[in-house]
Amino acid sequence: MLPHDPLKRILYIDLSRRSFEVRERPELFDESLGGSGVGIRLLEEECPVNADPLGPENPIIFTVGPLVGLYPLASKTVAMFKSPHTGNLGESHAGGRSAVSIRMAGYGAVVIRGASVMPVYLVIDEDGVRFRDASALWGTRSSYTTGSVLRVREGGSGTRSIMRIGRAGERLVSYACVITETYRHFGRLGLGAVFGSKQLKALVIEGKRTLPVADRRAFRQTYDAIYKAAVDSPLMQKYHELGTPINVLPLDAIGALPTRNLQSGRFEGAEAISGESLAANYLGRRVACAHCPVACIHLAALRIPYPNDPYFYKTLMLGYDHEPIFAAGSMLGLDSVPGMLQVMDEIEMQGLDVMSTGVTLAWATEALARGLINEADTDGVTLAFGDAAGYIEAVQRITTQPTDFYRALARGVEHAATIYGGRSFALAFGGNEMPGYHTGPACHVGWSVGARHSHLDNAGYSLDQNALKKGQTLTPEFIGETLLNEERWRQVLTSLVLCLFARGIYDRETVLGALAAAGFAWDAEDLERLGAETLRRKIAFKQREGFDFGALRIPQRIIETPSPGGPFDEAFVREAIECYSNLL
């Protein structure tokens, strides 16, 4: 690391004492770069064994990396914590301006300890932390309000990030999210509830500085090569034009779009909710994360008339992506775009993870139809596939929790199905709800073993799709080994906090060149070591907190509903999981 690089500075904040200190730890970043690599090491240091995820002993750790502020597409912040949703590793990534703001404020990592006795929000800049009273913001109905208030109340417009929770986080829903810059999320695994448990409503982080480089010429050359590769790449083009929803129609065509709680892999409404249809009829604006030329964030403009007031309209601007479309669209049988967008909007206002919410409600819908629960449980709300109004009511109740049933839903589908039955169609892996792919066995193996439960951990879904294209038959050994190798490499990318959409641009050689100009003399072996070690540490943390590969539950529904990858059975999935864990 270059001598004047502020990456080595870690900001430690103690919410119980309302104090902070900055410690310089260059060796941590010299060995593990940042992001996942540094994050898991800080989590090992900070999180006691068997910590209560909603107790003051659970830390919140944000990390960025050396390439942030230097190169395009190094745009993610990695959050690490113990997950209140799964009870083990919580790792969630978000873009927006978060990573650039943390780096520009002069930190490589921020560690938040303890819990406040009253609602607070934090304002962070290079001088440290100011603790501000958030009691008036606590309990506001919509998460949007917190954003609007802080935007006006605090400075630094354009060079700051505003992370905040909604009421779902305050009420400790185990899959509440943290929203940043209105349209990006630390979505999965319940960081919002950890914020809520600490009475931490929001965090504003701001900064503007220069960063040193090792060699100005080499830096500019490397920059230009990466920039050119990014703007010329067809992959980037596709994410800019239609965005991630470009996947909806192809997945539906092969029967891999989870529909109505995965009773099917095909959705007759796929055309309506496709990326093509949304772009043609609703796309209002595209926006980018800081320092990313791609601008994959798509905002739909939805004009809603007031039923009894002529000429009164409200216009929603709502972010959409493949996963929200799956979770609030096909999974709930919603083929009306206004209906789907309004369900998403309610989920945003509450501050919930859209994927976990959609999958949980899809299970609840089937449970109601099968008589496992009744309308007293649902507080009179009718849950039926295709009925947006009912889902909007239910989303609000996941936060307010008027009945035992909603209290169960607020802990996710695994927990709810343990109480009410219907586990065979409760679509969670390791306690976390599934993403929007049913491509074949490899995707399901992927999120069973993945170290942070995201479809982007290891690309099981693309293994399935490649095998399908090439007419190959997948074996458990091949799946286990390929997933493991890919996931190790992705630990390197996420230690550098590169957007995983840019993984084709940042190959090993490019990564090493970029690091060299940033003052890190690394070689290919160093990268391999970091990838393997980071994954090993993450899995070790999970196992320390009770995770067991052998005890994973495989929902029967994924076996019963045909996938394009052909029939497979539970034994096949278990064998692939075993191969993966043996190779670790």
Binding site: G69, V100, S157, T182, P212, V213, H291, C292
Partner: protein, 135 residues
Amino acid sequence: MAKRLSVIDVDRCVGCQMCMFACTRRTGYAGLENACIHVRSAGGIRKGFTVIVCRACSDPPCARVCPTEALTPREGGGVRFKPNLCIGCYNCVEACPFGAALWDETNHKPQICVYCGYCADYCPYDVIKLEEISG
């Protein structure tokens, strides 16, 4: 003819801030502080973005209030900035109605556009462009 940076179509701006990083890179550094261009949301990202650039006025108010002639009018429009003469009084920042005299907190001096167009080369969506000043 003197040139200036023009905002061609702000509605195409995606808020990527590639231009701000480019302007700082021009000075040999990474990061944002040396940027003479600023992009922020127009009151929340849903409303789009505001791109703040020096519009190279023919009678620049920033130069009029500079007590040390660190800022002087440039022939054809805009200003030249001599940092050595600047005493960091902040008058120029307050005088520019666009907020285009940005402030460098580290050196306590303004960041003034040099009309080079380096930023425009990195704008992926043709929002900004270096143009000749006409009339």
